[in-house]
Amino acid sequence: MTLATRNAAFGYLLMAPSVLFFVILIAYPLGQTLVISLYHMSTLTRTGEFIGAANYTALLQSGEFWNAFGNTLIWTVGCLALQLGLGVAFALILHGKLFLRPIARALVLFPYLLSTVVAVLVWQWLFNDLYGYLNYLAEEYGVVDGPINWLGQSPNAMISVIVVAAWKQFPFVTIAVLARLQGIPKALYDAAKIDGANAWSRFWDITVPQLKPVLAMVIILRTIWDFKEFDLIFMMTGGGPRSSTETLPLLVYKEVFPKLSMGSGAAIAMIMLAIMLVFFWIYAGQYDREESARTR
């Protein structure tokens, strides 16, 4: 065996456990999802008949699917916008001088690491209609007459869930942007100052362009993650009231379990996968561009 083949063989050997795992628990299940999506199958008995694309055509004609699709869109865009705004703002704040900055950083970043279940518990507590502090404050300071129905009304519920998600996830944006901000050479700002640029134009002409690549990555990544979010919405509202916060991941769950319709659940999962692939393709492209820009 040549050295090159031996090296390659060792590479394969190192990859083998992971690859084996991927094949058995990711690739094979993906194939299975595709197959199941072509069957009319009950979750209880796991038997059913082959019906081709009927699950898909039924979905595309169902109001439930399009409702969930629309909700997913609103959810993803809403989360993204709020996270981006908060995230970038706090990155800029935490980059500058600040009293007790290390503590401020830790406090701001912490929600990101919190268990979703903790975030849900705390916010449900805040939102609670009978004992919640938010309603108490709102009533006390005369903002509203009666308690606000944070989670039991649309569009309140969607807004509330988005707020919680943004609260929990924005530190990711902050971390990413902060890391980039710290990487901008100070000389650039010095040069701009000498060239007579004021603070505002230094921000627009140096900071913003420097942040663009990292923002691009963050946007795609957060889009993917928000798009597939299940836990937070499910625990917070279970998709309700009505179906006003029911997104595609929740619909998959609902089809497969409460409705025991495995086939159509799998079909929704496949549609999600297709959408995900588009994001993935964009992300991978952006990633490669970044990679080659960095290594050059």
Binding site: A4, N7, A8, A9, F10, G11, Y12, L14, M15, P17, S18, F21, F22, L25, I26, Y28, P29, L30, T33, I36, I93, L98, F99, A104, A106, L107, V108, P111, L113, S115, T116, V117, V118, A119, L121, V122, W125, N128, Y133, W167, F172, I175, A176, A179, V214, F227, F230, F234, M235, V252, Y253, V256, A266, A269, M270, L273, M276, Y283, A284, E290
Partner: protein, 281 residues
């Protein structure tokens, strides 16, 4: 002090106060969580609710730890997250090293697949995983959960570690090869010691990810005695025909403890870890 300097200082103080107010707003839910967990129940459910507790009590923590199944949930969660983290990091180090340093057919494709698996929504795998786990008889068992959690923990760890290994200077491994180290010796004596901070950060993030996992535990675990915290706590505190918010907040605080500890441990590598895996590459 000149007027201009005074003005500037005043401006800065104003700014800092505003910024800290914003930070206080962000942290308010957490403060409220801790406060509630220490309040007597009567202050929580009364009207109007009190902000600062008039008397502090640890009774909710006592109830949580000694009068509910919380302890079992906690142990289960630690077991599942530690085991899947261990598997993910071990496989991940080997895989990341192989992926970064060795040239073999389909290497690029494999890197893509790792990224893909990393971004894959859990619900897409839910249906078949559910059949697979059930068919090998691990339904309802913590080991089954270890397997399903590894479906996201491994790609995540691999992706993160890939960045850490790629950041190591390859010359050092070349030097070791020339100095007489075999392939495994290079991995264990040269690569792993150097990547240790990265490995530790990865392990912590993987742990937190597994520790927070909800969907698979919800679907795959039946018995309370083998539940993990996220779904278990909701069942524990919300379904016994009595919503005890103080107990819930105590649970929230206790759930957060291990994360807090780990966070303190790797705070230095925090940005690096998250950034490396996802944004910076």
């Amino acid at each position: 002090m000149t007027g201009a300097r005074m003005l500037r200082l005043g401006g800065r103080i104003c700014r800092d106060v505003l910024v800290w107010a914003a930070i206080g707003l962000i942290s308010f839910p957490l403060v409220w969580m801790v406060l509630t967990s220490l309040k007597p129940r009567i202050e929580t459910n009364g009207y109007p609710p009190s902000f600062l507790p008039s008397s502090l009590t640890l009774v909710h923590y006592y109830d949580l730890l000694f009068r509910t199944g919380f302890g079992q949930l906690f142990v289960n969660s630690l077991f599942v997250s530690l085991t899947s983290t261990l598997v993910a990091v071990l496989f991940g180090i080997a895989g990341a090293y192989g992926l970064v340093r060795f040239r073999f057919a389909a290497r690029g494709l494999m890197a893509r697949l790792v990224l893909f698996a990393y971004l894959l929504p859990a619900v897409v795998l839910l249906v078949p995983l559910y059949v697979i786990v059930a068919s090998i008889g691990l339904n309802g068992s913590l080991w089954g959960l270890v397997i399903t959690d590894t479906t996201f923990a491994l790609p995540f760890a691999l992706w993160l570690l890939r960045a850490f290994v790629a950041a190591l200077p390859p010359d050092i491994e070349a030097a070791a090869a020339i100095d007489g180290a075999g392939r495994f010796a290079i991995l264990f004596e040269i690569v792993i010691p150097q990547a240790l901070p990265g490995i530790l950060a990865t392990a912590v993030f993987t742990f937190i990810m597994a520790y927070n996992e909800y969907l698979y535990a919800l679907v795959f675990i039946n018995a309370d005695q083998s539940m993990t915290l996220p779904p278990g706590v909701l069942r524990l505190v919300k379904e016994s025909y009595d919503i005890d918010w103080n107990l819930m907040m105590a649970a929230a605080v206790v759930i957060t403890m291990p994360i807090l500890l780990l966070f303190a441990l790797v705070q230095r590598h925090f940005g690096q870890g998250l950034g490396a895996g996802s944004v910076k590459g």
